[in-house]
């Protein structure tokens, strides 16, 4: 294994005549906190879909923890260690918060092969779900249906589902979208605290939180990677300033 959690080689994604991703090269080392930024329509969420196997790229290779995905879909991608949160909150609306997490914890690498877990409650699954419940701070909403949570709580639960699935690598698609600044800061602190030792690839719009959180940043503009590097280098990069930060008003 070459130590890369995610490696993309020449990924091209076309929808009809429109080219959304145009030869994306990206490698993310295991254990890294990486942020993906770019203006609206740059193809960030599409790139997430490609990494998570939800969309099959028109061309190019996706290598997850040293194994090539070959367009085998989201189930295989998640078995290769990819966990995902969604841009639109994506929990199981009519299940309680705890049951949401129990469903996710059933998929942790240690539990996955135990088929009898599907037939009877397992103490270890419940324990893992309970731990995540505590970590994301939803203890008091244990039995609340997910649909009845507040917005920030739903986002936390979305993160919690990804966490409880035990994935080594987490793709977080704008976890702070639509939040106030204070809520966003709390969310980033939560992500930082709960993803210790895992690889994180994060899409984010709020520049300040990105620069404070990520070890490396990739800037995606119109389907191509403009720059990858440490936050300071990105901030100083003239191409990035021209293409993105100028528009962002930093």
């Amino acid at each position: 294994m070459n130590g890369n959690a995610i490696a993309l080689h020449g990924v091209v994604q076309r929808f009809g005549a429109q080219t959304v991703l145009d030869g994306v090269e990206l490698s993310i080392a295991a254990g890294e906190r990486h942020a993906l930024i770019g203006p609206n329509g740059a193809g960030k969420s599409t790139l997430f879909g490609v990494i998570a196997g939800a969309t099959r790229p028109t061309r190019g290779r996706v290598v997850l923890h040293g194994v090539e995905l070959r367009g085998r879909g989201p189930v295989v991608a998640s078995r290769l260690g990819i966990g995902r949160s969604f841009q639109q909150t994506s929990a199981f609306a009519r299940l309680s918060v705890f049951d949401n997490l129990r469903c996710a914890a059933l998929h942790a690498p240690a539990e996955r092969r135990r088929w009898w877990n599907r037939l009877r409650e397992s103490a270890s699954v419940d324990l893992a779900a309970g731990r995540v419940l505590h970590d994301i701070g939803l203890d008091m909403h244990r039995d609340t249906p997910a649909a009845e949570l507040g917005y920030a709580e739903q986002r936390a639960l979305d993160l919690g589902i990804a966490l409880a699935s035990g994935a080594r690598t987490l793709l977080l698609d704008e976890p702070t979208a639509g939040m106030s600044r204070a809520q966003a800061a709390r969310m980033i602190a939560l992500i930082r605290a709960t993803t210790q030792g895992r690889t994180v690839l994060l899409i984010e719009h709020d520049m300040d939180t990105v620069f404070g959180f990520a070890e490396r940043i990739t800037v995606l503009v119109r389907g191509t990677v403009v720059a990858t590097g440490a936050p300071d280098a990105i901030r100083a990069d003239p191409a990035v300033r021209a293409a993105y930060l100028g528009e962002g008003g930093l």
Binding site: A54, V75, F86, A91, F92, R94, N100, C103, I161
Partner: protein, 410 residues
């Protein structure tokens, strides 16, 4: 908390078992047993249907096909190999599960409308096959069995209705218990997750199709059991048992009862058999009442009878706000008045219509109301007016109004 929920579950289970067993014990007459046996079979079928609709979110239009196929398989098995009658539902269940698995391989590739359409097509195929392959399905006559011809158990030959009903009731209770256990398993929780958000389940690493297939197979097993219970009751498997009408019946029963709770569909099945047997004996308009009830439930009480019972229990608990009580009271009264209005109008209409055909007097019911005079229609109109007025009042009780809105959003 947990022990209280366990106690509530036990109480519900005991109530269910009592509903199945007690009436037969108190009034062991042919008609009562026939009604109970039909109800028990439909209860199992509706509960199995809800494993798909409520638990997994799969709307099927061909569920009766698996019940019917199970019944035919069981009938052929019984005629060829015999064996004890009490174990026959197992044969029907296995056959139902086999056909369900095969159909599920195709149907569960998709969910939502596509799944519904595929099941509609498959159900239609089975119904057509039932008429066009008389060698297997027995043509119009169906495949008869003699339930007393099996291996006797402890002196019981199961020819007598009471003995047959004992088998049916035992299987009904056992199946309901097994399905209840199934809906408490992590697998069923995963099926709930697939219902709510299949893409997320796929992202977690479980193929939603496999979960759907597992649930469809389980549901088809119990459908096969239900079909065999009908077979034991009427001693014949007919092509009607795989018809679209039967599939519609079970769908209506499940929705009327409420798909959100476990025992809801059982209540729906009981109401539906009550309408189709007891009311059908009194009035020709029973199918109309069923249709009106179905539409009313879908529009006004999407959680079905189970939801209505929960709302009543909420309102009658100690310390419930007065506004909530008034709200529920108004709703119940409005429903009663509307019911009177619809029954009056329908009965008058039918009496008028058939009186013209038969040339008899324009009269119906115990009161001998003349359908030609305006009195009956006046009753219907005023009842409808009062019902509408009460329903309007109901909206005034503020906290309930909010609850209604929240339900709509969900």
């Amino acid at each position: 908390m947990r022990s209280r929920m366990l106690a509530a579950g036990l109480a519900r289970g005991a109530l269910f078992a009592a509903c199945v067993a007690l009436p037969a014990w108190l009034w062991p007459h042919g008609a009562v047993l026939g009604y109970l046996a039909q109800t028990a079979a439909l209860v199992v079928l509706a509960l199995s249907y809800n494993l798909q609709l409520g638990t997994t979110g799969l709307l099927s239009f061909g569920h009766a096909a698996f019940a019917g196929l199970g019944a035919f398989a069981a009938a052929h098995w019984f005629n060829h190999f015999g064996g004890p009658l009490p174990l026959l539902p197992l044969v029907g269940g296995m056959a139902g599960a086999g056909f369900g698995f095969a159909a599920g391989l195709l149907a569960t590739r998709r969910s939502g409308t596509a799944f519904a359409m595929i099941t509609l097509g498959l159900g239609e195929c089975v119904a057509a096959a039932a008429w066009s392959v008389p060698a297997w399905f027995g043509g119009i006559g169906g495949v008869p069995i003699d339930r007393a011809s099996g291996t006797p158990w402890g002196g019981w030959h199961f020819g007598a209705p009471v003995q047959a009903y004992t088998v049916i009731a035992a299987w009904c209770i056992a199946s309901a218990w097994a399905m209840h256990v199934l809906t408490r398993m992590p697998l069923a929780r995963l099926a709930n997750a697939v219902r709510d958000n299949p893409a997320r389940v796929a992202a977690l690493g479980t193929d939603p199709r496999r979960v759907r297939l597992a649930m469809v197979t389980c549901a088809s097993f119990f459908a096969g059991v239900a079909g065999t219970l009908t077979l034991i009751d009427v001693e014949i498997a007919t092509p009607d048992s795989v018809s679209m009408a039967r599939s519609a019946t079970v769908l209506i029963a499940a929705v009327i009862g409420g798909t959100g709770t476990f025992f809801g569909p059982a209540a729906g099945a009981a109401v539906l058999t009550l309408l189709s047997i007891v009311v059908a004996g009194v009035s020709r308009a029973w199918a109309l009442y069923l249709g009106v009830l179905f539409v009313a439930i879908v529009v006004a009480a999407p959680r079905g009878i189970a939801g209505i019972v929960q709302a009543l229990a909420q309102a009658s608990r100690r310390g419930a706000p007065a506004a909530e009580r008034w709200r529920v009271l108004c709703a119940v009264a409005a429903c009663v008045f509307w019911g009177v209005a619809i029954v009056c109008a329908a009965e008058l209409g039918y009496a008028w219509r058939f009186a013209q055909d038969d040339g008899a007097g324009f009269a119906f019911g115990a009161w001998r109301i003349d359908a030609d005079t305006p009195a009956g229609w006046a009753v219907a109109c005023s009842a409808a007016g009062i019902g509408t007025l009460l329903w309007g009042w109901r909206a005034r009780f503020a906290p309930g109004g909010q609850a209604g809105k929240r339900e709509d959003v969900r």
